[in-house]
Symmetry: C2
Subunit: 256 residues, 2 copies
């Protein structure tokens, strides 16, 4: 299966971060679990490793467990038309994956990179949730964040011009990396062009062309196929905001 159980009691335990509902924290994420709670959750959870490309669960499966990502990237998706996938979300460390509806998973999940994650059985979690208001509040915060991200995803999908979609996608990735305090100007693309295409609702070819368009406009620069640098933020923002056709006509590029 490509998964290995490496329960290590020495770990600090599950970790979840999200943006606060009420207090203003300046865009930074809050750590939502005390060390003690993490330790108590660690007791009922196990640590799993999934190799790149491995299916974590499938849509419609009985939802026996929820996952808390420690490292790596997960995608959740729906299979539509035998060939076509729709990627619902990319999930990163400290996110929760696999909230059920009526006891079943609503999407499928797969490891985009190698992934390590806590597996928390719902049977134990449910009773613990009911008793611990703080834990419930954590779930509320995290759900709010996921909701906002799903709404941003929907907003991205309404953009009618391919480069605008890609520009907004880059902003989302950068925004996430910033929230986690990772390196600032270098954006890493852990997923394939094909995955990006299935997320933004375009063909892989259009994804490629759009990256090229943003690069030739001077908004971004590629170091290699998975690493890019934002060299002109306002240019990227303009590209992302642009609903209108061809902001720069391809032919007359500022005749110098």
């Amino acid at each position: 299966m490509g998964t290995t159980n490496l329960h290590r009691p020495g770990d600090r335990g599950p970790s979840v971060t999200a943006i606060g509902l009420w207090g203003s924290s300046g865009g930074k994420r809050l750590h939502l679990l005390t060390d003690e709670k993490r330790a108590r959750l660690a007791v009922i959870s196990s640590v799993l490793r999934f190799d790149k490309g491995v299916e974590i669960y499938r849509e419609g499966d009985s939802a026996d467990a929820i996952f808390n990502i420690i490292g790596g990237v997960v995608k959740t998706y729906k299979n539509l038309d035998h060939q076509t996938k729709h990627i619902v979300a990319f999930l990163f460390p400290e996110d929760l994956v696999g909230l059920p509806e009526e006891g079943k998973y609503v999407n499928s999940a797969e490891a985009v990179t190698a992934v390590t994650a806590y597996r928390i059985p719902v049977s134990v979690l449910e009773t613990r949730l009911r008793r611990d208001p703080d834990l419930e509040f954590l779930v509320i915060c995290k759900l709010c964040q996921e909701l906002r991200e799903a709404q941003r995803h929907a907003l991205l999908l309404t953009k009618h011009h391919a480069p605008a979609k890609i520009a907004m996608f880059v902003q989302m990735l950068e925004n996430y990396q910033c929230a986690r305090g990772e390196s600032l100007e270098e954006v890493y693309l852990p997923m394939s062009r094909c995955d990006i295409a299935d997320y933004v609702g375009m063909s892989a070819e259009a994804v490629s062309r759009s990256f090229h368009a943003l690069a030739s406009r001077g908004a971004i620069v590629f170091r290699d196929r998975r690493h890019l640098k934002i060299v002109n933020r306002s240019c990227l923002e303009r590209a992302a905001a642009n609903l209108e056709p061809h902001q720069l006509p391809y032919r007359q590029q500022a005749a110098s």
Copy 2:
């Protein structure tokens, strides 16, 4: 302002329904508040009325209150490019509107029809939430539902063909009316064509043409501009699922 405060202590109090997380309830929504809890929430809330077209709150406003719709339809939206609106969601009776992020509303909200709603101040709600695990659990269930709906919205927006988007939109409305136990085969469109367009990410003209296309395919029939009947469900489903171009070429329509 077009709003009137009609606090009526005789009301049963806020009512919220959602789909269960764990137990399977056969697609029906669960009522999530006991009569006693509703009464206690009623004490801290007031009933407001908004006329059609009135703004309920604006993106970025300090989020002083959360709303629970009693009757009518609300849209939440973002203003993008001076002209362009993106409708994030339509909200119906028993839904919650106005969950904040960092103390501010993330979208604007406006009454699509005349609306009555409970207004629940967050200052009181927050402390009550922390003490009442059942209330928190309610919010979790409701957030899960909103999340799933946002994800379905995103799925809708990836459809590349206009009639497929509209077909899925009709299914969503019907699905909602079914969950509320309203009339079965007659679907009511409370919002304007323009609102639909801003929700599905198309032009108003394309919305009109798509409705027409579905009607001429025999999937739906319009009674008037706001009421339609689904006459061929499988045809509608095929239209909604269809990612491929022109399932029925416009020219050769079964030469009779």
